[in-house]
């Protein structure tokens, strides 16, 4: 794993969307390294249904950015073979739920190949998965599938929440010699930030969380699509007298216990926030490991604000499912402030 971006003379920034930053990350990686290949359904001529691969086939040719037949196991399975021969495939799954047909390849091969071969056959594959809801997608288009990936040793699981991280983390993922499941929050694709594609912020290697907002009362632990919601909640919480810290995990695997626990030890209270269903979702692991490590610093149990334990709702009902500011504040309110020492 290498850190890829280096700070050069910083040109002026301009507004960019997360989709553009992701595109740029692939473009730069492809330009630097001829072994990087992008593949998937509609990634070539169309530029992807979210236009994240826009222009790559034109610039690098169809052999470097390939429209595959419509078969997810086949896409990932052939990517495994390509990686065996020294290429670095970047695979796009069109939507979260359409990655499921590729689970066999992911779980039994992608995640295990390095280990099976005692390191002789690493698989530097990036699997890009647009995930999560909030875009009014019909069924099978809004799943939060991160729990499946987290439960699979051998994978890295990464998810950006900002435009700069989208670029930096994807560069790091492509540079990684291990397989990375790269979860792209669909509803942040069009989120904008001032950002300079020519001097992207240096990015730390995969595996570091970041404190997005410091605070003293309690820590919100979150990632991806829920970061903006948590930032908003933290703003709103000031009115209630709570000064919330917000930690953006960025990497679910490996997990940055250090940053998270340092924050929780400081604040003594924590709420984990994510869209994924609560039961069996990432929050259980996060709450459990924070509690294991910070038990005597905790004034209250670590609480979770998550999607309900139901199949993802139809578009017209999704707002009731998604963790929103109010639900986060309700959880913060239940952090046993009366017991405050």
């Amino acid at each position: 794993m290498t850190t890829v971006a280096n700070a050069a003379a910083k040109p002026a920034t301009k507004p960019a969307t997360m989709a553009q930053a992701l595109q740029r990350a692939m473009r730069d990686a492809m330009a630097e390294d001829p072994s990087v290949h992008v593949m998937g359904e509609d990634v070539g001529t169309l530029g992807g249904v979210f236009r994240v691969t826009d222009g790559l086939a034109k610039e690098f040719g169809e052999d470097r950015c390939t429209d595959t037949p419509l078969a997810e196991a086949g896409i990932l399975g052939t990517a495994v073979g390509m990686a065996m021969y020294g290429l670095r495939p970047v695979v796009e799954m069109q939507f979260d739920a359409f990655a499921y047909p590729a689970f066999e390849q992911l779980l039994s091969h992608v995640a295990k190949m390095r280990n099976r071969t005692r390191g002789a056959m690493p698989l530097p594959i990036v699997v890009r998965v647009p995930y999560g809801g909030g875009i009014g997608g019909v069924e099978h288009h809004s799943d939060s599938s991160e729990a499946y990936y987290m439960a699979t040793p051998g994978l890295h699981v990464v998810t950006p929440a900002t435009v700069a991280d989208a670029y930096g983390l994807l560069r790091a993922a492509i540079a990684s010699d291990d397989p990375v499941v790269f979860l792209e929050p669909k509803r942040l694709y069009w989120s904008k930030a001032q950002w300079s594609p020519d001097a992207p912020d240096p990015v730390e290697p995969i595996g570091r969380a970041v404190v997005r907002r410091t605070g003293r009362s309690a820590t919100l632990v979150t990632y991806g699509p829920s970061l903006p919601v948590c930032m908003e909640a933290a703003e709103a919480a000031r009115a209630e007298g709570w000064d919330l810290e917000v930690v953006d995990l960025r990497s679910l695997v490996p997990f940055d216990d250090e940053t998270v626990c340092a924050s929780v030890r400081r604040t003594g209270r924590a709420v984990v926030v994510h869209e994924s269903t609560g039961f069996g979702g990432p929050g259980g692991e996060i709450a459990a490991r924070v509690t294991e490590r910070c038990f005597h610093h905790l004034e209250a149990p670590v609480l979770r604000v998550a999607g309900f334990d139901i199949p993802y709702p139809p578009p017209m009902l999704e707002r009731h499912h998604l963790p929103g500011v109010d639900r986060i504040l309700d959880a913060v309110a239940r952090l046993q402030w009366e017991a405050q020492s």
Binding site: L70, A73, F308, R327
Partner: protein, 377 residues
Amino acid sequence: MTVQELPGAAPYRPTPPPAWKPRTDPAPLLPDPEPYRVLGTDAAAGFAPELLRRLYAELVRGRRYNTQATALTKQGRLAVYPSSTGQEACEVAAALVLEDRDWLFPSYRDTLAAVARGLDPVQALTLLRGDWHTGYDPHEHRVAPLCTPLATQLPHAVGLAHAARLKGDDVVALAMVGDGGTSEGDFHEALNFAAVWQAPVVFLVQNNGFAISVPLAKQTAAPSLAHKAVGYGMPGRLVDGNDAPAVHQVLSEAVARARRGGGPTLVEAVTYRIDAHTNADDATRYRGDGEVETWRAHDPIRLLEHELTERGLLDEDGVRQAAEDAETMAARLRERMNADAELDPMDLFAHVYAEQTAQLREQAAQLRAELDAEGDA
């Protein structure tokens, strides 16, 4: 054990090799080299005028349904609509060849087939409006839920047909899939199970030239998609998907074969998606107008209209009548779709399990409380 120790080894006299016999005769399984056509050929004369008129009326309604649904996306009344404009002959024929007791397994593009089978269009469009997933009781019209994960409904059709046969019911399942869907593993597994079980199921592949932006040439190198049938030991039929009586005939024969215990058939209908993939798609990114125009000239409605007119089975009145019927249907649909869907957020917890778990009861109570608080505020 060395060679010499093989039981009864020396002296070894070669015997004829173990018998080889193909399990099925490949030759009759091979599809015709050209798509089967009726319109403009002598075969057309063999069709009952009522059937042709019925097909015509349904095609006209179908086209109007497609344009109306597309219009509803612009008015924000549908979240998304994958149009079957240009493919109406397949959609309509698939519905008409089935008996009441049969089952239809549509893909997400096939709301028209479901509607032509008798489903309330508002219910058929519920998924795409976004107020629920499946908007109808599948048992009512024996239409399985519209299926979005490609080709995953094909094994369902096989299982259902197999179950019906085990129960002694002479029910046939007809499953619809796109050219792109044929690349999925589930397509392969479904066809193989169907052939091994000799299940009464008909697979209709609408080869409309594209899977979103990906043209057929990047999807397969097979002579035709119908040729895939050979590898499963079932007949493959190739048909002009814009020739409604031809599609109707080929599917009817396949359904009849399935019903009399002859097993499954794979039908490839060669057609074209005139509109973009969905209203959200920009088809100019991946195909030229020329191709679209060629196919517009081979429009299923025009083709049939021409035949009917030539043969004196349809006059201007008949055309106007069909158009007016379609207009009435469209007006009704527009009006009903303009009414807001009635939604109860508590439904989110109502159908996950037969009995709500304690956890879901808790979560439902939470949402209830939130909604009450919202209401109070």
